[in-house]
Symmetry: C2
Subunit: 198 residues, 2 copies
């Protein structure tokens, strides 16, 4: 697909996923997010109060995947991101690590669920803290090579994801141009680029 | 300072800032973090429930600063990060944008408060969403050039920061080696490296 056609398809998905109404809900039952407060004493006797965010009962560590097909095209996903200016995120496959999963197991599961692709080779690229002032979330970036489409998408209730493929050059262009603009995607793609010597 | 000496100093600050006790507090008054829940309707009629984290009454957008002195040494800061494995973060200057501030004003203020340095030239490198599934935080990375030490640190209550300077090569080494391991620092330093053609 030409870059112009790629951008047109992204725009069409963005239109479909635009938010037309957003209403605050006041009940606090079954929250996914939870805040915990701690008082900490440091070795040098200083005392700190800090608040921590938990996601679904865990620290919210996630995996992020640069997935390349056998022809070296990359998989991008487009999904509603109601709190960002554009309301829609152009991203790469990613998701939270479930309880009891290793990061690699989570990466394989998320790639399969979000896109139906399965990779022949996995490379661990980097790990990083997403927001360490308020969270223990430690995210893992992977490069998934020789991906083949084997399954249908299996999305959670409340999850809407469209996926596309594009050249690796176009993937890098999407980052440089600010179209892919989330920390997870930027770091994983920069690291994949470096690993591949591109 | 030699790289060996730099790593020794970082380790000494890490020892000082280690957490020796962490106790959960159950009162929920005066929280810095707040969760809001929304029901959103998309243009394609799909309905999504999403939760959003707010920090101190705002979306928590922050600035991150790669600050270089006239001799091209870089400023790093070391501070307690009680939720990370090492309990201490090796980072670069950063902080939240206050209400009514532009990102550049926030960057100048944070660099001055955290380190006492003032820069002669500022370059906006990149902006990115820190955690767009649960937040509208849009962070701005800056390169601050020709920094001169003019003021004393002015830290908030509950803020403990030591700063050091090191060569730009050692700054990049700290990222590659995983010693600087937060999303903000990684992205800002990668972008500064690219901007400077290093």
């Amino acid at each position: 697909m030409e870059r112009g056609e790629l951008l047109k398809r992204i725009d069409n998905i963005k239109k479909e996923f635009a938010t037309i109404s957003m209403k605050e809900i006041t009940n606090s039952k079954n929250n996914f997010l939870k805040i915990r407060k701690y008082q900490c004493i440091l070795k040098n006797s200083q005392i700190l109060n800090r608040e921590k965010i938990e996601k679904g009962g865990s620290d919210g560590s996630a995996v992020v995947i640069v997935a390349l097909l056998e022809n070296n095209e990359a998989i991008i996903i487009v999904q509603p991101r109601v709190f960002s200016k554009s309301q829609v995120g152009v991203e790469i496959p990613a998701g939270y690590i479930d309880y009891g999963e290793t990061p690699l197991q989570a990466a394989k599961r998320e790639l399969k669920e979000e896109t139906g692709y399965v990779a022949k080779k996995w490379v661990h690229l980097k790990e990083f803290y997403q927001d360490q002032g308020i969270s223990g979330a430690l995210n893992h970036c992977y490069l998934a090579l020789n991906c083949v489409h084997k399954y249908s998408q299996e999305l959670d209730k409340d999850e809407y994801i469209n996926y596309l493929t594009c050249s690796f050059d176009d993937l890098c262009f999407l980052v440089d141009d600010g179209i892919i603009n989330d920390a997870n995607g930027i770091i994983a793609i920069m690291e994949a680029k470096r690993f591949l010597g591109r």
